[in-house]
Symmetry: C2
Subunit: 259 residues, 2 copies
């Protein structure tokens, strides 16, 4: 049972202030993960390595990543060959990752960092390759790999940004994940009346509301996100911080997207 | 033309004092690399990406890695499942790597960090897999990847140490390198009279002197190192800091090992 959980940049950072962790929200998310990990180990009959369910955590960049990427004019398509700029963006994301990893460790979760710049690359057609040797072995050894939006080297473009969302779909496919969760500050995919849509099984059913909805901006392209999640082989849950406990307990949370 | 250069832990750190960079030696090595990179770009007709020869740098752990690994009882075969211990060793090596990368960048070398923990893994038979997607794309985009001895996850063992030397041979094979250089504080492989042996083409020729020589201890197993280098498809040079300029200029330096 492998779960990929994304903690959005708005959950782990204060997006309004550069390079600031949202202590309260991060602490609450860490507590939920620690609680679920302890229950998983208990259900599996002890605290041995590999005994519990496998969890991969991905977090966004929030006020660490976006701030620095914008400063250097780097996006997922606009690259840079300035090694100093690449390092500055990467280093900011590493510092946020360190904060997430050490808080998880302090709560008893055997979290370890995985920095995409060290493993991933994009080819000249923008395709992302993310070798999973390290991440998969961490899982089989009972660790919790924690990845993050990062800068990655990109053939013919220098280096570009890889978002947490892109990592989530790449990991879910590569690890053959059973469940995917995307925790941000919105409680789910919203309809025209701002009510959470419980389930999406086809893009046509929500195309009208996603096309013109305000949520398009809030979450960085909900329509594209829903399309990508519909193509996964695993159900994906889009939910807010209050539903993290329920998602990690195996319950439905927010909007469930089943392609 | 791809070159893999190892800077030994004794070159970049003060091995007698925990977590201390050897500023003078590191500055001298950085200056040699920057000088060779500038000449390579000039020879290739400009500073465009991919224009010069490709260089991969690997550095050892010195007083950053060994200190922390010993503290936690972790070696290349003795593993740990303590995520806090893994992170502490890794974090120390990252700090040393940051020092090397930023000094290289300050000298005009487009260096970028590659952390083995994020990419590599050992299987249950201790075999190391190190996916090179990121490193190879860095090279083709004109960056200088800088790897380091690190802790890596290890099937059935938690996490163990990967040395700079093991990374060098893995990189040389995986990148089909043309030249390999190992720069430490000894001027080469020494004979019974402590003279540098100019060339080694077969282990039998040096077995007697390496078996009982003091250099076995000084460099962490010179006999095993020579055996591994003889099996590479590229010539390997073992030399001291004074010969780094010559090696990077394409000249023979110290002992040349050709298998």
């Amino acid at each position: 049972m492998t779960t990929v959980l994304k903690l959005g940049g708005s959950v782990v950072t204060d997006k309004s202030t550069p390079e600031t962790v949202d202590e309260d929200r991060l602490d609450a998310a860490v507590a939920a993960i620690a609680n679920a990990a302890a229950e998983g180990r208990a259900a599996a009959g002890g605290a041995r390595a590999g005994g519990g369910p496998s969890l991969v955590v991905v977090h966004g960049g929030g006020s660490f990543g976006h701030h620095n990427a914008e400063k250097h004019g780097v996006s997922d398509t606009a690259g840079t060959r300035d090694a100093g700029a690449v390092f500055e963006i990467h280093d900011a994301m590493r510092r946020l990752n360190d904060a997430v990893v050490t808080r998880l460790q302090d709560a008893g979760v055997p979290a370890l960092p995985v920095h995409p710049l060290s493993a991933a690359a994009r080819d000249a057609d923008d395709g992302l390759s993310l070798p999973l040797d390290s991440t998969a072995t961490m899982l089989s050894e009972g660790f919790v790999p924690v990845l993050h939006g990062d800068v990655v080297v990109h053939a013919d473009a220098g280096a570009t940004i890889v978002s947490g969302d892109e990592l989530v779909t790449t990991l879910a496919r590569g690890l053959d994940a059973d469940r995917v969760g995307l925790c941000s500050t919105v409680p789910g995919v919203l309809d025209a009346d701002d009510e959470v849509i419980p389930e999406i099984t086809a893009f046509e059913d929500v195309a009208a509301v996603l096309g013109g909805s305000e949520t398009t901006d809030v979450t960085g392209g909900m329509a594209a996100k829903v399309r990508a999640l519909l193509e996964l082989g695993a159900p994906a849950h889009v939910f807010g911080p209050d539903a993290l406990d329920a998602f990690l307990a195996g319950d439905d949370a927010g909007t469930v997207i089943r392609g």
